[in-house]
Amino acid sequence: MAAVSLSTSVSKLKLASPVILASGILDLNAGLMKRVASSGVGAITTKSIGLNARKGNPNPTIVEVYDGLLNSMGLCNPGIEEFKKELDELKGVKIPVIGSVYAGSPKEFSLVAGKMAECNVSAVELNVSCPNVSKGEKFGEAIGKNPKLVAEVVKAVKSKVRKLVIVKLTPNVSDIAEIALSAEKAGADALTAVNTFGPGMAINIDARKPVLGNKFGGLSGPAVKPLALACVYKISEKVKIPVIGCGGIASGRDVVEFLMAGAKAVEVGTAAYLKNIEVFNRINREIAGFMQKNKFKKIEDMVGLAHR
């Protein structure tokens, strides 16, 4: 059988596999990131890091639902200064590291993203889409739902950061393509679509209470895949910058669907729970198998096919 190449690129980021570890999964310390880095992924994204340490929400922070997970981690992280220790220990990791950051304002975003970009990372991903923040907080989704604010954040970060700037979008808006366009016009180099859906809720009927400590959580996993796929398709119709697909991907066929919808790479998270860390190598094998059978030589050859 003819050899196929799984390599792809997201702007100037070169990837040996289109499968990237999504932010928030196994990425709070160097040890686990190194382990995932040698498990077949093309790149790893760090936990979203803020200016200061944050404890996150009380447990339970996850609950399984049919074909998915609800999570309300709540941006727990040690803060950018402390996290540098972990990034320093990642020297020697051969694949690109994408540093995810969150903040509450354009100015704070440029500060945190600037500090992240000074570290051992190839790109920064701006988390303007985390749904797990409390009322009154201006993090995450509170920014990502407002096209003007997204543009201000991107501009502020781009004025400070020379490395690749990726914006991770929330699907919880009426027109995601509008937000995507706004990020592109402001100078974003790439987009990740999408963060978790929701909010969602699970109630334990014997306890008569919501299961999640924060009551609400973002929905991920196979249940959201068709919704995420539609987001990527819609965004790809409107923007020219590369899109990284994310949402419920658990197999090689899922990846190919996102490629055909217009993504140049994908992020995988929840599948690492459903199928453990071996899932990344398995997805790679499945993509290669599909490509061989259908005579695709490069990932690029499949990107956007569903639009033609």
């Binding site: 928030g24 999964i25 196994l26 990425d27 709070l28 310390n29 040890g31 686990l32 190194k34 382990r35 936990k47 340490a53 944050r54 404890k55 996150g56 009380p58 447990n59 339970p60 922070t61 996850i62 609950v63 399984e64 639902v65 049919y66 997970l69 999570n71 981690m73 727990c76 992280n77 040690p78 803060g79 402390e82 996290f83 220790k85 699970a202 334990n204 014997d206 306890a207 008569r208 209470k209 299961v211 400590g213 998270g269 929840t270 690492a272 729970y273 453990n276």
Partner: protein, 264 residues
């Protein structure tokens, strides 16, 4: 339909006060679990934390815990008839191995070892148990231990009961004359580190039950990381080879993921 990984409300059948700080809850919970595995225990509206099992018998499980913070204080106040949420069991658990086995515990670290000790005795292994406690008021499972055909060494940090010594001191002195084929250990991390180092030096296989701040408990969030391991999924039981040359015994992590140095 498949069973979802979500808490199920179960009744507390009985509560035993082991000492001023430690209680054992018997839960009406059918659980196929191995010694060393753990459950996530949920008090609705409060929090959810990991607990090891001090007894497993098919239709019931027992959880023995020490009052340490707000959650265990709330747990300490619950009574028979109250309900708590349970999900699990999680983690790998201990693997019973060796013919001459030494169990070493510190304080309430005896709890997860207890069902394994009973299993080892039942299977006619040569069993030594070294249990250290803070003082005579904090002793645990003395009746359960005394019923077993095992060599017992109970010590206290202050000498208020039996000998004044740490369990690791006793282990070290026994090593001069005894050749163990397997060691199991659970207790404060620095005490486990001492045991780990002794076992590495003497080349004795050892299984230790580690602890880290835990959130998802299913291997996803990475909060309970220890080197390249997830304590919830790859552990909580690790071998001496896995823990060698890692941060074990040097630093732990708090809820923020920040490194917290360990001190005696």
């Amino acid at each position: 339909m498949k069973t979802l990984d979500a808490p199920e409300m179960v009744e507390i059948l009985s509560v035993v006060k082991e000492n001023s700080l430690v209680k054992t809850l018997t839960l009406d919970c059918k659980l196929k679990a191995k010694p060393g595995q753990f459950i996530m225990l949920w008090i609705p509206g409060v929090d959810e934390k990991p607990f090891s099992l001090s007894k497993i018998n098919g239709s019931k499980i027992e959880v023995t815990f020490k009052k340490l913070g707000p959650f265990t204080e709330k747990l300490f106040s619950l009574k028979a008839g109250d309900k708590v949420g349970v999900r699990g069991p999680y983690g790998n658990g201990f693997r019973l191995a060796g013919s001459k086995i030494c169990f070493i515990s510190g304080g309430v670290g005896l709890a997860p070892l207890m069902p394994l000790i009973e299993q080892a005795v039942k299977k006619k292994r040569n069993v030594t148990v070294i249990s250290g406690f803070k003082d005579k008021t904090q002793l645990l499972f003395q009746n359960r231990l005394s019923r077993l055909k095992a060599e017992l060494h109970i010590v206290t940090d202050d000498g208020s009961y039996s000998r004044k010594a740490f369990s690791t001191d006793i282990f070290e002195s026994l090593l001069a004359s005894q050749k163990y084929s397997q060691v199991y250990c659970c207790g404060p991390e620095l005490m486990m580190k001492k045991t780990l180092d002794l076992c590495l030096k003497k080349k004795i296989p050892c299984q230790l039950s580690a602890e880290r701040y835990m959130k998802c408990a299913v291997g996803l969030c990475g909060q309970c990381c220890l080197a390249g391991f997830r304590v919830c999924k790859d552990g909580p039981v690790f071998t001496e080879k896995q823990l060698k040359d890692t941060e074990f015994g040097t630093y732990s992590r708090n809820a923020e993921g920040k490194r917290i140095p360990l001190h005696w």
